[in-house]
Symmetry: C2
Subunit: 143 residues, 2 copies
């Protein structure tokens, strides 16, 4: 199966978007996120743990605990989430898997793919969570 982001990363982005849609930094339990987004409960919990270690998310243990963003939505870019979960190898390694692919010894699609890759990177870097608030709200309510 071809894939852009791992399931972990997909779920992670979804969950963080959900947190961002609740402006005032409200603490939200993993259980609610899991239900609203149709993600296995303990899986989303684990992913948010990872993001907590990365400093993107804040977690509170115990009763009435949960997760919230650790920064303002305008300070979190989509690329930050991808970097924390999947890493940025995809933007540095050869799409065909050639081990010694470089500008000097390019693979057949090196140039064309490079352009696509740069566009993707720029898109993920330009987009911060605050830009998505309304879109995310609409999307989540329609699931």
């Amino acid at each position: 199966m071809t894939v852009i982001f791992s399931k972990k990363c997909e779920y992670g982005i979804q969950a963080v978007l959900y947190l961002a849609a609740n402006l005032d930094g409200e603490i939200i339990p993993a259980d609610e996120i899991a239900r609203k987004l149709n993600i296995p409960k303990e899986f989303v919990s684990k992913i948010l743990q990872n993001l907590t270690e990365s400093g993107l998310v804040y977690s509170k243990k115990g009763k009435s605990g949960g997760f919230a963003l650790a920064k303002k939505p305008s300070k979190i870019r989509l690329i930050d989430i991808v970097a924390a979960i999947d890493g940025l190898d995809i933007f540095n390694s050869c799409v065909l898997g050639f081990q010694h692919c470089s500008p000097d010894h390019p693979c057949p699609v090196h140039h064309n793919w490079g352009i696509l890759r740069t566009n993707a990177y720029n898109m993920l870097t330009e987009e911060t969570l605050d830009k998505f608030r309304e879109k995310t709200l609409r999307k989540v309510r329609n699931i």
Copy 2:
């Protein structure tokens, strides 16, 4: 780990490019392909089996057997290989994994990602194996 193509697909494309680099339809054993491309021998053999079932590759059993392209290089597009191994889901499903993503209820990055995806699809569709012959030869010899 974020990934575009599965290892299987990466290896598959590499192997088919290698076959295409041998113009006259010469039959090449999996062993040689594996050595030249640094791919596990039996794995590349299995992948080429799959491609044989898909009609892209021809296989010959027994001593002095091996694999060759089943069609002229100009008739095989990169997208055909991707479709045969990984399928084309990546070009139809939501990049963030939202189950009900559509133009009516788009995910936050729906539009932007749609453009990138279309570009990628077009690139893989326009590129046929014959265009890569010299590039592949250079690449393989430098590995």
